[in-house]
């Protein structure tokens, strides 16, 4: 066997090696110098990103007997996931230090999770996909529980684990049905078998698809499989929530693309209806329930459900325009979500978790610059131009209209109006109310710098989105 056969997996291999280095180094680092682990993890991410970039080409290459694929889509997703994990690590450092939580586990589990995500993004067979998914999920369960003394964290980790295991079971069950019907695990072969035997398009296959959609919807946190999401967002420490709220969404999209589009694209008519129901419910329930929240992490959790509704509706169209729109939406949403949770982390300090929306009161009087950044994130998520959330929504609505569903488009914009209310409430607390708490932020300059950059990116991407829109379309076209 020569090395070029496994070269499509170069980023994953690099990351694995780097994880081993971090793991070993962390053993010998004394607690007061734990920040070394942090810098090593950032370095690992940088090296991985570098490998992704230098191995990039527009070609699609397979490895490991066709069960692994490296194509432009997977590379773009991996690069974004690596970047956003790095941003999350940067935001988390001061917070972890202040709360005596700066431990190697956080970084290692985060890196392992990223490895799982990258495997999912490159999976070309159902089993590889499952392997990646479990690597990611187990890291996430452990991350949620990583604060050992906290009963709340343990409870949400338990909930996440039990429900997640059921969802994985459902997915696996669906996989077994699809395998039983088509006789293969490779996505392209599944597609080929279905194309050649139209008779397979029958109840057993549908049954398998339904179970797989349950699994996918759970990983996305789409209604009615969303129960875990608000509890986990709230129960986990803010840096962990940030992690869960960002990169895994790209991985979930990869799961969806690979299984439903690459594998079962031919049966678009079968899964379209199921996705639509899930998407519309997410859109409505996410937006409406978010209004009632007083905890910002919970509120952002429900808002994430609503955003997932948008992403799923873009996929529902079954067109390349729709897939590109879903990709663009996911990539830009995680930038805004990272910023919003970054603000939650910034406002927290030793022994104090800024999780109530009230804690944002009077932020404009305390620090106008970060209030402005939060305003960017909130208006961005609400879909108000010129912030990027608007372009993302426009892109999805365009795809839905193009597919011939004006009613859905109207529903989507009306749901955004409902959604605008709870984003506006954060802005109202920040700008219109007097501060209840006048303490000074305890974060370091680099964290603040990244947060500012994040806010400016939300505006800049909204004003000049052309290149990313084009990139998403190209990447989808090549896959």
């Amino acid at each position: 066997m020569n090395l070029s056969q496994i070269s499509p997996a170069a980023p994953e291999i690099t990351l694995t090696l780097m994880i081993c280095v971090v793991l070993l180094a962390d053993l010998f680092v004394p607690q007061e110098k734990r920040v070394i682990t942090f810098w090593l993890s950032i370095a690992s991410l940088a090296v991985t990103a570098w490998v992704i970039v230098v191995t990039a080409s527009s070609a699609t290459t397979l490895a490991f007997d066709g069960s692994y694929v490296s194509d432009p889509l997977s590379r773009l997703m991996k690069l974004c996931a690596t970047g956003i994990v790095g941003v999350g690590f940067l935001y988390a450092r001061d917070y972890l230090q202040q709360n005596d939580l700066l431990k190697g586990e956080y970084y290692l589990l985060g890196l392992f999770g990223l490895l799982g995500m990258m495997i999912m993004m490159s999976a070309n067979s159902l089993l590889t996909m499952y392997l990646g998914l479990e690597t990611l999920s187990l890291s996430l369960y452990a991350l949620v529980a990583f604060e050992r003394e906290s009963a709340k964290a343990a409870e949400s980790a338990m909930k996440y684990f039990v429900l997640g295991a059921i969802a994985s079971g459902a997915l696996l069950y669906g996989i077994s049905w699809v395998y039983g019907v088509t006789g293969t695990l490779h996505f392209h072969e599944i597609a080929e078998v279905i194309r050649q035997n139209p008779g397979l398009n029958d109840v057993p296959l549908w049954f398998g698809i339904a179970f797989m959609i349950v699994g996918i919807a759970f990983k996305f946190g789409a209604v009615p499989f969303h129960m875990w999401l608000p509890d986990v967002y709230q129960g986990a420490r803010s840096p962990v929530t940030l992690y869960i709220a960002t990169a895994p969404k790209i991985a979930a999209l990869a799961l969806l693309f690979r299984i439903l589009v690459d594998g079962l694209g031919e049966l678009h008519g079968v899964w379209q209806g199921m996705i639509m129901v899930v998407a519309v419910l997410s859109l409505l329930i996410g937006n409406i329930v978010a209004i009632a929240q007083s905890n910002i992490k919970r509120m952002l959790g429900y808002s994430a459900i609503a955003h997932v509704g948008f992403i799923l509706l873009a996929v529902f169209t079954g067109s390349e325009t729709g897939y590109a729109a879903a990709l663009f939406y996911t990539l830009t949403y995680i930038v805004m979500a990272a910023g919003a949770f970054g603000m939650v982390i910034l406002l927290s300090r030793q022994g104090f978790e800024a999780e109530a929306i009230r804690d944002f009161k009077g932020l404009n009087a305390r620090n106008p610059w970060f209030a402005l950044m939060m305003l960017f994130f909130m208006f961005g998520m609400a879909g108000v131009p010129p912030w990027v959330g608007f372009i993302a929504k426009l892109n999805v609505i365009n795809a839905v209209l193009e597919a011939g569903f004006p009613g859905l488009a109207v529903l989507m914009v009306l749901a955004s109006v409902v959604g605008a209310y709870y984003y506006l409430r954060v802005i109202w607390y920040m700008y219109f109310d007097a501060p209840e708490d006048r303490s000074v932020f305890q974060s370091q300059a680099d964290t603040r710098f990244v947060l500012s950059l994040n806010g400016i990116a939300v505006l800049a991407l909204g004003i000049l989105p052309g290149w990313l829109l084009k990139l998403c379309i190209d990447v989808i076209g090549h896959s």
């Binding site: 131009p385 506006l424 700008y431 052309g466």
Partner: protein
């Protein structure tokens, strides 16, 4: 330097960047610091410079053509063929001038009455100015929508941060109402994009559409514009927003933001959906007349000065929409042109008069901290100069000949007389009602015995206030006595617009 190629961009971006500079520097949280003072000067400088540049726009404007002038065009987002496409014609140019004229006055009016975070206050107004000019100058639907929605953000903050007691309720209502109105317009834009392949206003106007499509798109536009105008029955956000907004916010809201709705009808609904507009013209006339008569009656009952002026704004804006939608019931071109021109003149005039009225109330409010009519009485005794101004503006509000308020209303009433005597009858009630509510308020506030000791201690206008009201009084009289330059500016554009509306857009008719 040759400004003709990028004057519009400068007008849009100069205030926006000026506002950003103000935000960046800030005032350190102290309104009396030297830094805050220099920020005020900067705000005044930027807004005045914008006004001076817009004079250039006016002086080099060619009134002998209906085509777009000062056009700027560059690709922006290629994926959707969205362009950065600006240009003005005889309808948008006067509105841009109105915007650049009012904003420096608002800055001066807020000079030392804004005690908290002046830098952010002025920054919000400057950014708002740039965005509003952008709405009037945009010729690409996407660009238009971006300006249209982004405009809500500074206004939301202006009302919410510097407003009165119920400001949070009022500003949320304002934002959500207008946001709800506009999102369906966005769906229509994207639908039209699907038909034409770009977001250009002219291709939207060229593409054939079935009657059903036109009707649905018309309704979605109607919701967006009717909320902005505002038309009965979606006007309820306006009295709240006006009452709670700081003086400057009320002025901008009444003088310029309400005009966006009227502008939307002429720029989008009428040329893009001629058959849909014809189909719904009866409804539009009915809603306009209800606004004129019913809201006029409501205004009569108000005890709060700002609320009264807010309701009178709704009634006056009813004239604008009435003028625009009369043309299908009029035989002959001159009547139609009269209605359309009257509507536009009324928009400009209302911008000046309502802005001035809100500034007058602001002057009183700064001294007494009450907007209740009952808390005043006999103001003329202690503030004679102010009283003279207020009476002048009240006369203009009531449509007295010689003031700007008369010109537009008179044109629209004549046009409606040509259309249908009953339209004219109901429209003309405004002459009675408008006079009644305005003058009754003047009687109770300005004339009579000195009502209480607050009034007795009033100081007359200071130089700053005198300047602001004086400039507005001059412009009200100028437009009233000599409207010809304004009417000339728009006549070719209105003619062309009427031709465009007269042509059916149904598939197969072209």
């Amino acid at each position: 330097m040759d400004l003709t190629h990028n004057i519009l961009s400068i007008l849009v971006w100069l205030p926006v960047f000026g506002g950003m500079a103000l935000l960046m520097v800030g005032d350190g949280g102290n309104a009396t610091s030297p830094r805050a003072a220099s920020m005020r000067m900067l705000a005044l400088g930027v807004s005045t410079l914008t006004f001076v540049l817009s004079i250039f726009l006016y002086s080099s404007f060619d009134t002998a053509t209906a085509s777009m002038q000062f056009v700027e065009r560059a690709p922006w987002i290629d994926t959707f063929r969205i362009e950065y496409y600006l240009g003005v014609d005889g309808i948008s140019a006067p509105l841009i001038l109105l915007t650049t004229f009012i904003t420096p006055l608002v800055v001066v009016a807020g000079w030392d009455t804004i005690k908290s975070r002046p830098s952010q206050y002025f920054a919000a107004f400057l950014i708002l100015e740039g965005l509003m000019i952008g709405v009037f100058a945009a010729l690409d639907a996407f660009l238009f929508y971006v300006f249209w929605e982004a405009m809500l953000v500074p206004m939301f903050l202006i009302i919410g941060v510097w407003g009165g007691e119920r400001r949070i309720y009022a500003t949320l209502k304002f934002f959500l109402y207008t946001f709800l109105g506009s999102v369906l317009m966005l769906v229509s834009f994207i639908y039209l994009y699907g038909k034409t392949g770009d977001f250009n206003f002219f291709s939207f106007a060229d593409v054939p559409l079935t009657l059903l499509e036109q009707q649905l798109i018309f309704l979605s536009f109607l919701l967006a514009f009717a909320v902005k105008v505002p038309m009965w029955p979606v006007h309820t956000w306006l009295p709240d927003a006006h009452v709670e907004a700081p003086t400057g916010g009320s002025v901008i809201l009444a003088a310029i933001m309400l005009k966006m709705g009227g502008y939307g009808f002429i720029r989008l609904s009428l040329p893009m959906l001629p058959d849909g507009s014809a189909y719904f013209s009866g409804l539009m006339i009915a809603l306009s007349l209800i606004a004129v008569v019913y809201i006029g009656l409501v205004a009569l009952m108000q005890t709060d000065m700002k609320k009264l002026i807010a309701y009178s704004s709704i009634a006056h804006m009813g004239f604008v929409t009435l003028g625009f939608f009369l043309l299908w019931s009029i035989a002959g071109d001159t009547g139609a042109e009269l209605g359309m021109t009257g509507g536009i003149v009324q928009m400009i005039s209302h911008g000046l008069v309502s802005g001035a009225m809100f500034l007058c109330v602001g002057v009183l409010y700064d001294r007494v901290h009450s907007r209740k009519i009952a808390d005043y009485g006999g103001v003329a005794n202690t503030m004679p100069v102010f009283a003279a101004f207020m009476v002048l503006f009240a006369m203009a509000n009531a449509g007295l000949p010689g003031t700007s308020g008369f010109v537009g209303e008179f044109m629209v009433i004549i046009a409606s007389f040509k259309a249908n005597v009953w339209y004219a009858f109901f429209a003309a009630t405004t002459l009675v009602l408008g006079a009644a509510y305005t003058l009754w308020m003047i009687k109770r506030v300005v004339y009579g015995e000195i009502g209480n000791k607050n009034v007795a201690e009033l100081q007359d206008l200071n130089r700053r206030e005198f300047f602001v009201l004086g400039v507005l009084a001059l412009s009200v009289l100028l437009v009233g006595l000599w409207p010809a330059p304004l009417v000339d500016m728009m006549s070719f554009t209105v003619d062309q617009l009427l031709d465009q509306i007269a042509q059916s857009k149904l598939p197969g008719t072209r």
